[in-house]
Symmetry: C2
Subunit: 408 residues, 2 copies
C-alpha cells in the first residue's frame, strides 16, 4: 500500500467529517442487542449504490433505487433481524414509512433523503411500532460519541463486527475513508446477506467517486463467496460528504485519483476478506488467484467456480490436498480453456503442472492444508495476463448445523 | 405408465437379448470388492453417449468420443476406484491400452469396438497390471449367470446398487430395456461421478434411438443434482443389439415410438431418482417442480438453481419450512421473472401466494418437512406452460463428513 495511506486503528464512522452514526436495540428479532443503526450526514452527501443481481429483491432495494435517482442522500438507516423481502405491498409501504418517519424526526427536506437497508429472515413483516420507537431513540443519541455501534447493529450471523478505515495524506490534503460491512455466520441464521457501507469526506467529482466505487466493488465485495447463495438483500453504498479540505480531485490523470482508488480498494478489500474469514462455520480463510487467463473476466469466473464448490470447500475443511476437485471446478466454470497447460499451487507448493500430477511430498501438502490461511494459485498459462483473486472459507459441519436450525 | 410397459422385478442386463455382463475385483483401490465390470454384445450394437460438460474431461471420454464416431460398439468396460482424469499422456495411453487388451482377449475386430468408463479419485494413474489381469478374469466369466455384478462394480460412494428394467409388450412385438447407474454416496469419496448405461434389444432405426436417448437424458440424468459439482467423468451410454423380434420402429408417427420413449424414460428417470435418494449423506429425497414458466428451459434453470442451493438443502435437512430460501434461489437462477406472481407449495400446502407469505398452520408445514420424500412446486404464473422437474436430496452433516475425509 502507498505510504500516504495509513490504516486507522479502531476506526469509527464518526471520524469521517460530516458523518454521525449510532444504533439502538428495538427487539426486531432478539432482545438485548443493537438492531437498528443509522448514519446521518450534516450535508447532502453524494451517494452511489450497488445491489444484488437476484431477481427477487427486498423492499429496501426498491426504495434505495428510487431515492438515489438524484445520487444524493442525508441518511442511511439499517435494521437487522428482518429482511423485509417477499413481503408484498405491505413490506414496500413499511419501507416507505420508515423513510418518512426518519425524514420527519431528523427534520430532513424529504423522505427521498433517506436510504434504507434490511437483513434477516425472508418473508416476515417488520414490527413497525418497534422500528418507529427506535427511530425516536436514535434522534437523541445520533451525535453521541461511540466507536462502532452501527457496525454492531447490522450484524446477523456474523461473529465479529467488520469496520475498516484509512487516513489518506495526499499532496492535495488529507481525507478519510471508513467502511463497515456484514456477511454471514451466526447462531440462528436465515440468509447470508452482504451489506457494505463506505463513508468518506474526500473532495472529488461525483462521477469519479462512482467510477472508483464501481471498479472497487467488483474486486472486493463481488469477489467473496461463502455458499454461492446470492441474497435478495445484498447492497453496497458509498456516501461522500466532501467536507475534507483536500484539493478537489477532478480527473483520472495524475496521482490523486489513483491514490484515492487505492485507499478505497484497501477499505473494501479488507472488509470483503473479513466477510470470508467470518463465513458461517468457517475454520479456514482461502484466497484463490487465477492468473495468466485469457481475460480478467475468465479468471474471475474460474476463481468463483472454485470458491463455490462444496467438494473443494469440504476438502479444505478436512485438510485434504485433493487438488483434483479444484481442477474439476475450474472445468465447469463455463470458461473454455486447455487444462493440459494449467498448473496449480497450494501456497508455494506445485501439485499439478502442465496438466499432469506434479511430484511433491504428501506431508508438505498436508502441512500447508493445516494452516488457517491458505493461498491457491491456478496458472492457466493461456498466453494472456488475465488475473483475479477471490476470497472464501472452508465448508464445515458447523455450516450445516447453523443453517439447519429452525427459522423461528 | 402405459399398461404395455411392465417393470421387471430383479432386472439383469443379461435379460436383454444379445448382452452378457459380469464383473470381478482387481483391487484398483480397495480389496474384496468388484471394481471392474464389463458388458459384451454378441453383435455390433448401435451406441450413443452423452458426456459431462466439464472442460476437464477424463481420459475415457476422449476414447469413447473417438470410438463412437461409427456409433457402433461391441463392449463397454468400467472401472471404479480411479477416475483416470488429469492424468496426462500416460492416462490416455493407459485407456487406449485397455481397449486394445479387451479387443484382443475377447477377439473383437478392433479396439474401437470397445467403450471405456472410469470413476474414482482424480489425478491417479490406473494400476494397469491389475486391470489387465481383471480383463483376463472377465474372459472366463462374462457369460456366467449373475444378477447385477456389473451394477455393483461401478459403485463408488453409492450405498445401494441402481438397476432398473422394463419389458415392453407392443403391438409390434416384445422388447426389453435395462439400465444401470452410479451416483454419489460412499465412505471414502472423491468425486461424485454419474455414470449411466442403458441396454436394449429393441429393433428401431438408429437415429430414432439417438433422438429418444437425447431427449430422455435431459429429463432424467441431467435433471438430478447432489452438490452442483459437475464431474470430469459423467457419461451416459445406450447400446442396442436390435435382437428382439419386434417390428422395427421406423418413424416418430404412431404409437410404437411413443411407447419406446415412455419405456426408456421410465428406466432413466427411475435411475436418476435412485441417484438422488442415494446422494452423499442424504436423509431426504426432494422433488422440485417448476410450472407455468415462460419456457421448459426457464423452468429447468429455476428448478436446478433451487436444487443446488446449500441454504435450501440444509433447511430440508433441518426440517425447516424456510421457504424464503427457495424463492431466493429462484431469483438468482438467471431467469427473468416477476416474483410477485409466484406461488409455492410444500406437497399440497401453499406457503407463498402471489408474491406474499400465505396463511398456513406452522405445524402443517413442519409435518410435511418431517417426511422422507417431499414435493416442492413453484408456480411461476407467467402465462405460459413451461414445466420441469428435478430431483435432489437434502444436505446433511454426513455430506461434509464424507467429503472432508482424506483422499488416501
Amino acid at each position: 500500500m502507498d505510504k500516504d495511506i495509513v490504516e486507522i486503528i479502531n476506526p469509527s464512522i464518526n471520524l469521517v467529517k460530516g458523518f454521525f452514526s449510532n444504533a439502538c436495540g428495538c427487539e426486531i428479532k432478539y432482545k438485548n442487542r443493537l438492531d437498528l443503526g443509522m448514519v446521518l450526514c450534516e450535508v447532502s452527501a453524494a451517494c452511489y449504490a450497488k445491489y444484488t443481481t437476484n431477481k427477487v429483491q427486498a423492499a429496501h432495494i426498491q426504495i434505495c433505487k428510487e431515492n438515489l435517482k438524484s445520487n444524493k442522500a442525508r441518511a442511511v438507516i439499517v435494521n437487522s433481524g428482518c429482511a423485509n423481502a417477499c413481503t408484498g405491498e405491505l413490506g414496500l409501504k413499511n419501507a416507505e414509512d420508515i423513510t418518512k418517519k426518519v425524514a420527519e424526526v431528523f427534520e430532513l427536506d424529504s423522505p427521498s433523503d433517506v436510504l434504507l437497508c434490511s437483513t434477516g429472515v425472508i418473508g416476515r413483516q417488520l414490527p413497525m411500532d418497534k422500528v418507529f420507537s427506535g427511530i425516536d431513540k436514535l434522534k437523541s443519541i445520533i451525535r453521541e460519541e461511540n466507536e462502532k455501534n452501527f457496525a454492531l447493529a447490522i450484524m446477523t450471523t456474523d461473529v465479529v463486527d467488520k469496520i475498516v478505515g484509512v487516513k489518506v495524506k495526499s499532496a492535495g490534503g488529507e481525507y478519510t475513508i471508513v467502511g463497515t460491512a456484514k456477511g454471514s455466520g451466526m447462531i440462528h441464521p436465515n440468509m447470508a446477506t452482504m451489506l457494505g457501507f463506505v463513508f468518506t469526506d474526500v473532495s472529488i467529482k461525483d462521477y469519479l467517486l462512482k467510477r472508483a466505487f464501481d471498479e472497487s466493488v467488483e474486486k472486493s465485495f463481488n469477489s467473496v463467496t461463502i455458499d454461492g447463495d446470492t441474497s435478495t438483500n445484498d447492497t453496497a453504498i458509498i456516501m461522500k460528504s466532501g467536507l475534507a479540505n483536500n484539493e478537489e480531485i477532478i480527473d483520472t490523470a495524475g496521482e490523486e485519483y489513483k491514490l484515492f482508488c487505492e485507499a478505497l480498494n484497501f477499505v473494501n478489500t479488507a472488509l470483503a476478506k473479513k466477510i470470508a474469514i467470518d463465513g458461517e462455520g468457517a475454520t479456514k480463510f482461502i484466497e484463490i488467484t487465477v492468473e495468466n487467463a485469457a481475460s480478467d473476466q475468465d479468471a474471475k469466473k474460474i476463481a468463483i467456480s472454485i470458491a463455490k464448490s462444496n467438494l473443494v470447500k469440504t476438502a479444505f475443511y478436512g485438510e485434504d490436498p485433493n487438488w483434483g476437485r479444484i481442477i474439476c471446478a475450474a472445468g465447469y466454470s463455463g470458461v473454455d480453456f486447455d487444462f493440459t497447460k494449467c498448473s496449480l499451487k497450494f501456497d508455494e507448493l506445485t501439485v499439478f503442472k502442465d496438466g499432469e500430477p506434479a511430484q511433491y511430498a504428501e506431508k508438505d501438502a498436508k502441512n500447508i492444508l493445516k494452516k488457517k490461511d491458505i493461498k491457491v494459485t491456478l496458472d492457466m498459462n493461456a498466453g494472456k495476463t488475465g488475473k483475479w483473486t477471490v476470497w472464501t472459507c472452508d465448508f464445515s459441519i458447523d455450516y450445516v448445523k447453523i443453517n439447519a436450525d429452525y427459522t423461528t
